[in-house]
């Protein structure tokens, strides 16, 4: 991680103006930042999916942890067969959509015990009929529906407030950063992302986009 938001934006401006930006350049920074976000999320997701397919770990630079997330009780169960479900509200966090929902890297108890993921909900139906695999307090399982991470195994009798830790891969958010903040992209991907953004910019602005005259108007 090394590039600041401003460095990336400046790089793109230099590339699309052939290193000769005029002072009346009408390329809005917010547009460049949008392109950067689109490209970064696509490139990083591809990069991480390839890692996961080859059974390699997600580089720790891309993982964020949210400690002690409060477990909630579902008030209106969508599926009455399952009884009351418990879930973590994860709507405040943007999880990168990776294959098999591996954007959620790990859910664990506060003591650090891993809660296993059931990434295919149909698989959970099978588990429920296997005595030692079915969800229980000793074998907690989680699956995700939208912004809610459902935890199976607590039953209906949680007497004290339960909190859990979640480790996840956030989407790359550049627009909310200040100019001097570093963007969470590893160095090996920066050049690829800049190339992608340059292509996007030139495709949208026209391949011959160039404004070398400081005459107050965009060429």
């Amino acid at each position: 991680m090394g590039k600041t938001k401003q460095e990336l934006v400046s790089d793109i401006e230099l590339r699309v103006t052939r290193a000769k930006p005029s002072d009346d350049l009408e390329l809005e920074q917010s547009q460049v930042i949008h392109w950067l976000e689109v490209a970064a999320n696509s490139v990083v997701a591809d990069y991480l999916n390839k890692k996961l397919r080859s059974k390699k770990i997600i580089p720790p630079e891309y993982i964020e942890k949210v400690l002690a997330v409060q477990l909630n009780k579902e008030t209106a169960p969508s599926n009455t067969d399952e009884g009351i479900r418990h879930y973590l509200d994860f709507s405040s966090y943007n999880v990168m959509p990776l294959e098999m929902d591996q954007g959620i890297v790990r859910v664990s108890t506060l003591t650090g015990k891993r809660i296993n993921a059931i990434r295919d909900e149909d698989h959970l139906d099978t588990m429920k009929h296997l005595y030692f695999s079915k969800p229980s307090r000793e074998n907690l399982l989680w699956y995700r529906e939208g912004d809610e991470i459902f935890i199976q195994g607590y039953g209906n009798s949680i007497t004290t407030a339960v909190k859990l830790n979640v480790f996840y891969v956030p989407t790359i958010d550049i627009s909310s950063l200040s100019d001097t903040d570093e963007v969470q992209i590893t160095d090996d991907l920066v050049a690829i992302i800049l190339d992608v953004v340059e292509d996007m910019a030139l495709r949208q602005l026209g391949a011959d986009f160039e404004d070398l005259q400081n005459d107050g108007t965009q060429a």
């Binding site: 891993r114 059931i118 990434r119 296997l130 399982l141």
Partner: protein, 223 residues
């Protein structure tokens, strides 16, 4: 930490819990995702049922008789012996009846208490109304405080091979991978079953004394 706690934490402890079995299996199977690893728990149990029991599985329990019935422990696998007692601690003889109820009147057996069983209970005949408790020696599936099974330490490698075999079957790998995993399981399960039957030194000596000795065991002072 006292010596018992040291023993419980020891790698040579007699039983492993289900998480330890699964962790060992995970150590040789790196291409299963979390959801599949949950199946390892069930496979561990499935494999354990194939391996049978040994002396480490022997357990004794004192059970109160209720309505002429003795509830079998839920983790009992197979009975070894039963002893019946009244409230004063006097032991009574019994005659085991096949089937749930005696259907024959047998001369000379009236002094013995009828004992029969079904899947969940031992049943005493009406002549056993004075029996208040029974001592049951049985082969058990030992369980931990969470009601999960415990596995004899010497079953570990066989169970790892069983889980590996199940994993290859699930993956629908090529036939040679499945075949190799199956062969490994058979080899290790054979060793585990043999270890089940292996008496320790004390038992071995006792067996040798009673079965193998060529020396006349008549105790003359008894006469």
């Amino acid at each position: 930490m006292n010596s018992v706690e040291l023993f419980i934490d020891s790698p040579t402890k007699p039983f492993l819990n289900i998480d330890e079995i699964v962790a060992h299996a995970e150590s040789i199977i790196d291409d299963a995702d979390e959801g599949i690893k949950v199946l390892f728990r069930q496979w561990a149990w499935l494999g354990e049922q194939q391996l049978g029991f040994g002396s480490v599985n022997e357990e004794t329990k004192d059970i109160v008789v209720e309505d002429l019935s003795i509830r079998k422990p839920s983790h009992m696998a197979s009975a070894i012996d039963v002893a019946l007692f009244d409230s004063s601690g006097a032991e009574f003889q019994y005659k085991y009846q096949f089937g749930k109820k005696r259907i024959h009147n047998e001369d000379g057996s009236q002094s013995k208490i009828d004992l029969s069983e079904d899947a969940y209970f031992y049943h005493l005949g009406s002549n056993g109304s004075g029996i208040t408790h029974a001592k049951l020696r049985f082969y058990s599936y030992p369980i931990d405080e969470d009601n999960n099974p415990m596995f004899p330490n010497h079953h570990l490698f066989a169970l790892m091979m069983f889980i590996k075999w199940m994993w290859e079957l699930r993956k629908s790998s090529n036939q040679s991978a499945i075949g190799m995993a199956y062969t490994n399981w058979i080899q290790q399960s054979t060793k585990a079953k043999a270890a089940n039957k292996m008496p320790d030194q004390l038992k071995g000596e006792e067996i040798a004394k009673t079965w193998m000795s060529m020396i006349d065991k008549v105790r003359h002072y008894d006469f």
